[in-house]
């Protein structure tokens, strides 16, 4: 069974369609890299999946549950936003306990390996207001992975992280994939897309133009890098064409 299903999803803000006619199915154990130019609809697509934005048309399912009705479907979701902001006066430990309480997680049932791997152990008693942006981003990563979600949504996860922490995070993504999680990542870094993505979803003007494996794209265009292959491939497509497999 597909883990995440988009069926004719569209979102309109006023007269402007931010997303239109998106059909896609994502399987367990799959990493999908969501890419596209600024304003192409990446964030809207993710927000629709998370239930932060109400779709104008179409439907989304996560683990067979309809998005937008019962908030329980979000128990399966781990989310790492682009901007990590938390209550400034809470300590990191209090924030983690807050999320435990919200998710009714018992002590010992959470995956805390990232706390150590990202070097956050020494910061547990620090107030969040005293942490740098990169440190807050690490806290955000810990929260996303902590409850062993079956769907991970990461919005430009390595932006603001140092190279070593970025590497650690990408390894955590790979492990989540091995454990059967469906991972959606927005990224502008083509090396990441090529290295990590089982498929890439390319959005343009709110439409899903391409949904293919990076290797297929490279093979068809006979290019060695995605940054060259993608524009070449798009040039061959008629404007309204959607290529997916």
């Amino acid at each position: 069974m597909d883990r995440v299903v988009f069926e004719g999803v569209g979102k309109r803000y006023g007269k402007q369609w931010a997303l239109r006619g998106v059909n896609a199915r994502f399987a367990p154990g799959e990493v999908v890299m969501v890419i596209g130019p600024n304003g192409s609809g990446k964030t809207t697509l993710i927000k629709c999946l998370l239930g932060l934005v109400r779709t104008t048309e179409g439907a989304i399912q996560v683990n067979g549950m309809e998005v937008g009705t019962d908030p329980e479907y979000r128990r399966a979701i781990g989310y790492m936003p682009q901007l990590a902001e938390f209550p400034r006066e809470l300590t990191v430990d209090q924030l983690l306990r807050m999320m435990n309480d919200i998710r009714n997680a018992r002590s010992g049932s959470t995956d805390d390996r990232l706390i150590e791997a990202l070097g956050l152990e020494a910061l547990l008693d620090k107030r969040i207001g005293t942490l740098s942006g990169g440190m807050r981003q690490k806290v955000s990563a810990v929260l996303a992975f902590r409850y062993r979600p079956s769907v991970l949504v990461l919005d430009e996860p390595t932006a603001g992280l140092d190279p070593v922490s970025a590497r650690t995070l990408l390894e955590a993504v790979s492990e989540a994939r091995r454990n059967g999680a469906t991972v959606l990542i927005t990224s502008h870094i083509m090396e990441e897309v090529q290295q990590l993505g089982d498929r890439l979803a390319y959005l343009q003007d709110g439409r899903l133009r391409v949904l293919l494996a990076p290797e297929v794209l490279l093979e068809v265009t006979r290019e060695s890098s995605l940054s060259r292959a993608l524009p070449k491939y798009l040039d061959q497509l008629p404007p309204s064409h959607v290529e997916s497999m």
Binding site: K47, L52, M98, D101
Partner: protein, 255 residues
Amino acid sequence: MWKVCKYTLIDLARNRFALGYAALLLVVSVGLFQLEGDPTKALISLTQVALALVPLLALVFTIIYYYNQYEFTVLLAVQPLRRRSIVLAQWAAINIAMLVAFLFGIGMPVLVYSPDAAGWTLLLTGAALTAVFTAIGAWIAVRNRDRARGVGIGLVTWVLMVLVYDALLLWIMFAFSDRPIEPVIVPLAAFNPIDLARILVMLRIDLAALLGYTGAVYQQFFGTAGGMLVAFLALLLWVLLPCWRAVRAFRVKDL
């Protein structure tokens, strides 16, 4: 809901603005009681200060806090929580924090210097106004995406309720002074929570006599247990209505 409320309260307990608010109220209260020899006179001055200051600071603080927490609120909205619980929990926490600051800053000095019916009425109405204006603040912040616009609407709301509404009532009283308009003025005054709170405190200090026939009408209506009940029900409605509107707006809002 309690889970979010609890940790928001922990955050607010260390918030400098909330602590500063409590300290400011304490300095003003103790200062007025120390400067005025007569506790009743000090209570009248304190009522005037509190009825202007408490709504303003509760309103502005709530709006700013909601905007400051926006990114975290988005993260909460991705958790298995109902949106209604999130917005109500945050409002409850802000309300409790502002209420504690009010009781610390004004409650303690009033109980020390003027522990009479008028003092208790000031505390009750001040607490009610805190709840009213944090609720209005939550509604404004949820409805408006832009922070500057939200704060602006908050300030305009405060000016309307504290100054413009009173000026309008005065103008009506002047313009129709030759007619028996008191039966109309009383419900109109009660429609504004700040005026309502002021009337309730003034009646307890026996200042209604200075207001002539209007004061007599106030006394006749709000001086009774039934009138007090209606007044507090009106204040309760002023809390429930903005809360309900905030929840409704937040449930359908694109975050």
